[in-house]
Each structure stands twice: as C-alpha cells, then as structure tokens.
C-alpha cells in the first residue's frame, strides 16, 4: 500500500491541510443513521471494508497510517517540545509501555511492510521507520537503549492519542497517556482517574447506564480480540491540538465563523477509538485517533452531506452544548441545508460511491 505523504501540512498557524479525494472516501464517517444519541457502539476491531473507499478505509488495519502521517508526527513533536507534560506514564505501567511498543511495531510492520520493518533476535530489536527516516537498534526491556520511554518513543511515531489503563478494583484507571491531538480533555487533569471519574462531565450517558455497560465490556476485552468505536465533535480549522491547556489559543476561533467561511473552516472531528488488552501487563491500551475533514469536503459525498445536515439539525441540545457547538451550529445547519435534497439515506456509514462527483 503506497501512501503519498504530505509532509508540509500544518495544523496551526496557516493551516495547510486538506484531504485528497481518496482520503475523503475513506474517512470514518461516524453517523450510521440520520440522527445521533449516545449508546454502546463498541464492536470487535476486525479487519473490515466497512469504512468504504478503495483501501478498505480506516478499519482495514490495526493502526491506520494515512497521507497526514508525517505531518501529524511533526505536529506531535512540536507540542511535546513546548509542553512535555502531554506525555505522562505512572511508574507501575512500565510493562504496559513495552506492551504498547511491541503492539504498535508488530502491527505497523505487518500492515505496512514497505514503510516499517521490525527485526528481532531475542531481546535485540531493530526498528526501521522509513517515512520518518528512523533506524533504531535497542534492547527490549532496557529503557536506557531508547531516546524516550518506550511508550513515548513509539507513540511519537503513531497518529492519534493513546492512554494506558490499569485494571484493578473492578474499574479502569488512566495511569498513562500521550495527548497532543485531543478534543478538549487534559491528560494532566485525568491522570490517575477511574473510568467513571474521567467521563464525569459527559451529559445524558451516565443516566442511560452507558458507562456501566461500556466499562463491563472494556474490562472483558481479551488479548488478540481488540474492540473499537467512533466518537465525534466539531473543530474550527484543522487544528489537532484542541487541549484545555491551549484553550486561549483556539477557543476564540469559534467566534470567527461566518456563512462565507464555515464550509471550509468548520471540521468534523472523528475519533476512531480502539481498545487493546496488553499481554504482559494485563493493562488496556486506548487509541484515540483523530480524523479531520471540513464539512464541505464531507459534503462531496452526497449521502454524508444530507446526513450531517440532519444530525446537526436534530441534535439533542445538551449534546450540542457539551460538544461546544452552540455558537455555530445554526450556521452549519443552514450551510448544509443546501446539500440536503430530502432524499432518503442508506443505513450504515459507507459513502455509497466509488469516486467523488466532479
């Protein structure tokens, strides 16, 4: 699978970012029907064509690498240089760090052999990352043989945020993570919290028992049988780092949207969340991979334009407020109304087309 990387993309400042037609078609569109409500939407993370598009979409591999990979890794490095606290792992999670390194290296080298190579002789490992130009020999289990801790080392080379959960006392504790592409949550704040604590601010879902059942399901995720779900919010500009720490930088963006610029400036932000049981530590790795596409890019898929209009139009006000859409939702709905001819949409998230209309 050859990927045409776009190393000059930026996620701040001048926002040099766009999705190719292929990237639009493989976008993990999160709405499988014309309305949205919280529910248990977790499923086995098996290889699937469900994401649509020529390459099987974002569900075709364990950890998806796309055209934004090189630029996203550079963005992560920049955020960590300015704020090293975006990666923190508690000391008792060291085995989970090595588990994560092994899982991501095994997966990337198996799924993208032309880009990533892992060679192992006992505990002497050699890792080659061609897109980033890295060649690293190290000793598995020996922290001093890597330039960063094992978790930070490998997640600097992966798209999306990750958290490490320790399973104990009948719940999950967020005892580590890296967060540079997050939708307004803080690792420094959440570190050490239980599953119910860090989900405390979410409206409606607690009362529906969603988190009780989700926690039960997650605690039973088995090694070799990962799970996934999609989550979403909306972000002004293709900005990956919408952290609470940087709210003064991006918060005011919400006041800049107009009828003229909203189509290309407002982005649907989709999180492909994956859940992996880690074998040595018995911990649970969460992958929280952010995909960004402007609402005009998504509307090039007729089904998605219609559906996004209907979902936003009918969104429960509490969910709309929690996702930070109050200032611009009416403007977005008015913009998308132009592409909604009222035609019925097919069930499921697939785009229903093989190529974008001219």
């Amino acid at each position: 699978m050859t990927i045409a990387f776009k190393p000059d993309e930026t996620f701040r400042g001048d926002f040099r970012y766009a999705n190719s037609p292929a990237a639009i078609l493989r976008f993990p569109f999160p709405f499988d029907q014309d309305s949205y409500m919280y529910g248990i939407n977790m499923e086995p993370h098996t290889r699937s064509q469900k994401g649509g598009g020529q390459m099987g979409g974002a569900f075709a591999v364990a950890f998806d690498v796309d055209e934004h990979y090189v630029a996203e890794c550079a963005e992560r490095a920049a955020v960590l240089a300015a704020d090293p606290g975006r990666c923190q792992v508690l000391p008792h999670m060291i085995e989970a760090e090595w588990d994560t390194l092994e899982l991501i290296m095994e997966s990337l080298s198996a799924d993208y052999p032309e880009h990533f190579v892992l060679e192992r002789q006992g505990n002497d490992w050699t890792w080659t990352n061609r897109p980033l130009g890295l060649h690293q020999r190290f000793r598995f289990g020996d922290v001093s043989s890597l330039p960063h801790g094992p978790f930070e080392y490998i997640t600097r080379q992966a798209q999306g945020d990750f958290t490490l959960q320790d399973q104990r006392d009948g719940t999950l504790y967020m005892d580590g993570g890296i967060a540079t592409t997050q939708a307004d949550w803080s690792l420094s704040f959440d570190l050490g919290m239980t599953f119910h604590e860090w989900h405390g601010p979410v409206p409606l879902a607690h009362q529906k028992g969603v988190f009780e059942r989700a926690l039960s399901y997650l605690m039973r995720v088995r090694y070799g049988h990962p799970a996934r779900r999609l989550n979403w919010t909306m972000t002004v500009h293709p900005r990956l780092d919408t952290s609470p720490e940087n709210y003064p930088v991006w918060g005011p963006d919400r006041t800049t949207l107009t009828a003229d610029n909203i189509g290309e400036t407002l982005h649907l932000r989709v999180e492909l969340q994956t859940f992996y049981r880690l074998p040595r530590s018995n911990g649970l790795l969460f992958g929280i991979r952010a995909y960004l596409a402007s609402i005009d890019e998504l509307a090039r898929v007729p089904k998605w334009g219609r559906r996004l209009h209907r979902v936003l139009r009918d969104l429960h006000p509490e969910i709309g407020a929690y996702k930070g859409t109050d200032r611009f939702r009416a403007l977005a709905v008015a913009h998308l109304a132009r592409v909604d001819d009222g035609a019925p949409t097919s069930p499921g998230i697939q785009p229903d087309i093989q190529s974008l209309p001219a």
């Binding site: 364990a62 192992r120 104990r168 090694y223 992996y276 074998p279």
Partner: protein, 316 residues
C-alpha cells in the same frame, strides 16, 4: 494483532515431576514467536483424546510464558480423569501438535499491592509459580503458603525454589495450615491470591471477610468444579434432548451435540458462555452472575454449573 488465530503449538518437552505431575513445554508449531502473557494467565488446550468423539478443551494456567522459549504448564493426572489429563500424561509426546487459545488472564496481580500473600492447595500452585517469578522480577514483597500431601512436599519445594530472605511455607495437609493466623498477621495493603480446591478458597474468603479485609484485596482462581449427578438437557427451540454425564460439563455436552455455545475461560469467570434457562432448578458454580441473577434463574454458565435435579430446559 487483529483477527488473532488459534495458536498452533507443538510439544517441545514433557517431563514427569512426580507420579501424578507432568510439566509440558509448548512452542509455536512453525517455530515463530508466541504471544507473551502476564502471570496468572491461562490457555485452553484442544486435546484429541482417544475414545472421545470431539476434542476436549481443558484450561491450564501458564507457569511461564516466553515468546521464544515457549509456554510451560504443569498438569496433574486426575482420578477419575475426564480424559484430558490422562491424555497429557500417557499419550501426548514430544513433537505432537495441538491447538490452544491465546492467553487470557482473569487472575492478574494488583499493581498497587503493598504485599502479596499467595496460598496454594495442591496443583493450585501453578499460578503461584508465575506470580513468584513476576514478583521476584519486580522486587515485590510476597509470602507463600503451599498445602500439599507430605509425599509431595519435596516436589513442590523444588518448584518454588525459595531464595534467601523469602517467606515460603509448605504445609503437609490442610490441617497444618491456620488461615486465620496467616491472614491475621498481614500488614494493611496486602492482597491475597488463593488457588486450589474450592473448599480452601472459600475458607480463605470467609476468613478474610471475618477479619475485615476489603473484598477488592481477595482474589481466587477457580478451575471449575466439573462433575456431579448426570442429568438431561432439553433444547427449548428444537426439543432435542442431550444427556450430561456425571464426569462431563453442560458445555461439553452441548459441544458434543454439535451446539457451539461460545466459550472462553471455561471456569465460570468470564461470562461468555452464559445461556438462558427456560425451566429447571440450577446449581450455580460460577463467579460471574450476581446474586440477583442467580435468584431469578434466567441464566446459567454451562462451563461449570449444573442442574439440581434430573432435567434442565435451555432457552436456545
């Protein structure tokens, strides 16, 4: 790591530790790497046993799990054997192939334990051996009590290989182990892990509760108490009748009849094989269903539980 297949293994070594204990070393049949596993994990082996129409599936704790050197486990020949342990002792030889599930862990060490108290009964020593290795590697504080028959003391002592400064006690027979004294002497923050006969683990749980231990600090493994009085299963949808023999679990009887109930731990802990019940009295032996769910009688875990009476109607 998605779509993880069943592991194809091959017997690399099989050695008798005593007349009733045998240690197996299993490696990947293709010479490749095996998944690593945390202490406390088990695998389910698929054993093709002579005289059984369908393969038996037996779960065994991993005593050690190294991706390159392989998995080791210790199997006791049970009497009467359902066929699995006898097969491992008498038929399985070096070079034989067999399938296994990927490792699964329902008995993991607690990361915040200030001290770990390990209590084993008989073959229940197997996860404790994995715990001891893990605790030695991380410098964790532990105390081990192993109960066994007098003639097996030397075998178990050799397996543990106590190092200077470690607190390891072998007790010849249950009567020489004083659970109240051992539990009562532990510092705050201790987690107890017990593995062995259900009666032993029940006694540890009762004693810990009586001493005021938080339930979250008390852990047990259960291999499932198979066997009991024979009874007849009726499949609600088809009316088909399936005999469950005295030395057979309900899950094995369903599988032998060609019904794939889906299963995982086969020890009453994971909940995967739960099936709805239409009629019949139940003897719940699992550790998954809540007290309320047990009382309502709507679900049963066929891997360990049985009918209390001569018939049971499943709603499948």
């Amino acid at each position: 790591m998605m779509d993880q297949p069943v592991l194809a293994l091959c017997v690399a070594a099989s050695e008798a530790l005593s007349p009733t204990l045998r240690r197996l070393t299993l490696v990947a049949a293709d010479g490749g790497r095996l998944p690593p596993a945390a202490a406390g994990a088990h695998v389910t082996l698929t054993l093709s046993v002579a005289g059984h129409a369908r393969p038996l599936k037996n779960s065994y704790t991993l005593v050690s799990a190294d991706p390159e050197r392989g998995y080791t486990l210790i199997v006791r020949r049970t009497n009467p054997s359902r066929g699995g342990s006898q097969h491992i002792h008498e038929a399985l030889t070096v070079g034989d192939g067999l399938e296994a599930s990927v490792p699964h862990n329902l008995f993991a060490l607690h990361s915040q334990a200030k001290k770990v108290l390990l209590i084993g009964g008989g073959i229940g020593i197997t996860p404790l051996l994995a715990f001891v290795a893990a605790l030695r590697a991380r410098g964790g504080r532990f105390e081990l009590h192993q109960i066994c028959s007098a003639e097996e003391q030397d075998t178990f002592a050799a397996l543990i290989g106590a190092q200077p400064g470690e607190t390891v006690h072998l007790h010849a027979g249950r009567a020489s182990f004083d659970a109240a004294a051992v539990l009562g002497a532990q510092p705050l923050g201790t987690h107890v892990y017990s593995c062995g006969p259900a009666a032993l683990m029940d006694a540890i749980e009762r004693q810990a509760a009586a001493l005021g231990w938080p339930a979250s600090h008390v852990h047990r493994e259960d291999f499932g108490a198979a066997g009991g009085e024979p009874f007849t299963l009726t499949i609600g949808s088809s009316g088909a009748r399936i005999a469950v023999a005295a030395d057979q679990t309900m899950l094995e009887a369903l599988e032998a009849a060609g019904i794939d109930a889906g299963s995982l731990c086969r020890g009453g802990a994971c909940g995967v094989c739960a099936v709805p019940v239409r009629a019949g009295e139940l003897e719940h032996r699992d550790h998954y269903l809540s007290a309320q769910e047990r009382q309502s009688g709507g679900l049963v875990m066929p891997c360990v539980s049985r009918a209390r009476g001569d018939s049971l109607v499943l709603d499948i």
